[in-house]
């Protein structure tokens, strides 16, 4: 299964490092990353492969959300199919 991780918030040092470290800890493979900075807002979208994840999806998602809260960022992890079904016929 593939999922999309989105990170939105104020730009600061180490966002990408923190999120990808968490991915690596859980054996989640990062396939693609795109990031942009609009004024001060940092927006990163990651496509990840979760087929070899070594924990529950829910706990991975909770850890990311908690990390986001700590860094004042909004982090979502959602199954790739949500975007595919909503935006593609």
């Amino acid at each position: 299964m593939r999922a999309v991780i989105t990170v939105v918030g104020k730009d600061m040092v180490g966002i990408l490092a923190k999120v990808s470290a968490l991915c690596s800890e859980c054996n989640v493979n990062v396939i693609e990353v795109s990031q942009s900075i609009l004024q001060d807002m940092f927006c990163m979208i990651m496509l990840v492969d979760m087929s070899k994840i070594n924990t529950e999806f829910a706990s991975f998602s909770d850890r990311l959300t908690a990390e986001g809260d700590r860094m004042n960022l909004v982090i979502h992890v959602m199954h790739e199919d949500v975007f595919n079904t909503m935006h593609h016929i």
Binding site: S34, C43, I45, H76, M78, T85, H87
Partner: protein, 451 residues
């Protein structure tokens, strides 16, 4: 990779515009639970519901987490209990208690199906069940009840209409010290659908499979926000925008429905293409109408705006889902919609205008409070009017009305949560008593010569 703009749009819909799946409802047939002994029936019903719905809540929560979309309600609908009562006899309230216990055991917040279908007349079990509704709803917490009193093919059963006026008042009497919850859990239908996932009117029709998953979507906030981005567009463009947005909302519903069905090993039934409001700010159907250009919901032009909205929601949704059903359309429950509440408070929205609106949208006079001294005959008159609109237009209409017994002038009924608060609306007090007490049936309408 998926387009960044699309990803951010979806996240924005969920986070800021209240996009959610309103309900995942499991329909369970209880026909195989009927026995000539009511105790045996009750035991079988409890066991079957607990067996079938054991994993409903857990599975829905898993999907919620994985797909990142909130699923607000997990619910169950069952075969109309009057059918089970017909073979067992006995006090139908026993069934209500059993259903309530089963709902609590599996963790769903409502269970619908304490119902009777009497559009053509009362069969065994029907009248007993209807007369037991006030007691059943006052002693249970999660059981919802509905009665179908008319249809396009059968006409309107006026004996049942007269009876339901009294039953609604009795429901209010019995729960007047308990927040008037009784009448809020009771719907009177014309042309009730068999596969409706929404409460309080959900039941599992006789033609349905043994067990099925139906899903109701929501998202008035998303539609309003999409329209706010095109403030000067003409109405053709407005309709187009609603259609496109409804498509996206419904695709989400379809995804959740197929996932839930697959994981539970139960067939997928339908997606209900609905715009279901909540009292939360930014989740109101009335605000969509206002976004279209009305000063306030209830103004002249409201019916036209609602007709456009309702039709466009269906057109957009139909292509997004493999099976569509239930009530499908925009809901206009007064207490559950912040914009409707404001319009009723300010006097912009009156009950007569609401009645007109129900002719062009899903369902009908929903969650409306009327003065506590409104007679049973007047309530029956309101039901008859609403049923006539449904019967003639081949659509579902419903009445969920709350006589505000024990509520002082100028006060409102506070339900809280998704049910919101209910301003009390003025009702025409001229009496329809003689008409209602005649009894009999209104014959089914002609379905040709349509002018």
């Amino acid at each position: 990779m998926i387009n960044t703009k699309d990803i951010l749009e979806t996240i924005n819909m969920i986070q800021d515009e209240n996009l959610d799946i309103r309900t995942v409802t499991m329909g369970i047939s209880l026909l195989d639970c009927a026995s000539s002994d009511i105790k045996v029936s009750c035991n079988r019903i409890y066991d079957k519901i607990c067996r079938k719905a054991e994993k409903l809540v857990v599975t829905a929560e898993q999907i919620e987490k994985e797909y990142g979309i909130p699923i607000i309600n997990k619910r169950i609908s069952v075969t109309p209990i009057s059918m089970i009562c017909a073979s067992s006899g006995g006090n139908p309230v026993e069934y209500a208690k059993t259903l309530d216990n089963a709902a609590k055991a599996v963790g769903v917040n409502f269970l619908g199906g304490y119902s009777a279908l009497v559009q053509k007349g009362f069969a065994a079990g029907d009248e007993e069940l209807i007369r037991s509704i006030p007691e059943a709803l006052s002693i249970t917490e999660r059981v919802c009840s509905s009665v179908n009193i008319g249809s396009t093919k059968a006409g309107i059963n006026m004996d049942a209409v007269a009876l339901m006026g009294k039953i609604i008042r009795e429901c209010a009497e019995r729960t007047k010290d308990n927040g008037l919850w009784g009448p809020a859990k009771l719907v009177v239908f014309c042309n009730a659908p068999d596969d409706n996932p929404f409460m309080a009117g959900a039941f599992h029709g006789a033609g349905e499979p043994d067990c099925v998953i139906n899903v109701g979507v929501s998202g008035p906030g998303v539609v309003r926000s999409a329209l706010s981005k095109i403030p000067d567009a003409n109405i053709t463009e407005v309709a187009d925008m609603v259609k496109k947005t409804a498509f996206k909302i419904t695709r989400m519903g379809q995804l959740v429905a197929t996932q839930a069905a697959e994981r539970l090993g139960i067939p997928f039934g339908i997606v209900d293409l609905s715009l279901a409001p909540t009292p939360a700010v930014g989740d109101s159907v009335a605000h969509i109408l206002e976004e279209m250009g009305l000063e306030q919901c209830g103004a002249c032009g409201t019916t036209a705006c609602l007709a456009l909205l309702n039709d466009a929601v269906k057109k957009g949704g139909v292509m997004a889902s493999s099976h569509v059903g239930g009530l499908s359309g925009a809901f206009i429950p007064v207490s559950e919609d912040a914009g409707m509440i404001d319009a009723a408070r300010s006097g912009a929205l009156k009950i007569e205008k609401l009645e007109a609106m129900t002719a062009v949208c899903s369902v009908g006079l929903d969650m409306i409070a009327v003065p506590g001294d409104t007679s049973a005959e007047i309530i029956s008159g309101i039901i008859a009017d609403e049923a006539a609109i449904g019967m003639v237009n081949s659509k579902t209409t419903a009445v969920r009305i709350i006589p505000a017994i024990g509520v002082k002038d100028g006060e409102e009924i506070e339900f809280g949560g998704l049910f919101g608060s209910c301003p009390i609306m003025k009702v025409n007090t001229y009496s329809p008593e003689k008409f209602i007490n005649r009894g009999g049936r209104i014959p089914a309408p002609l379905q040709s010569l349509k002018n």
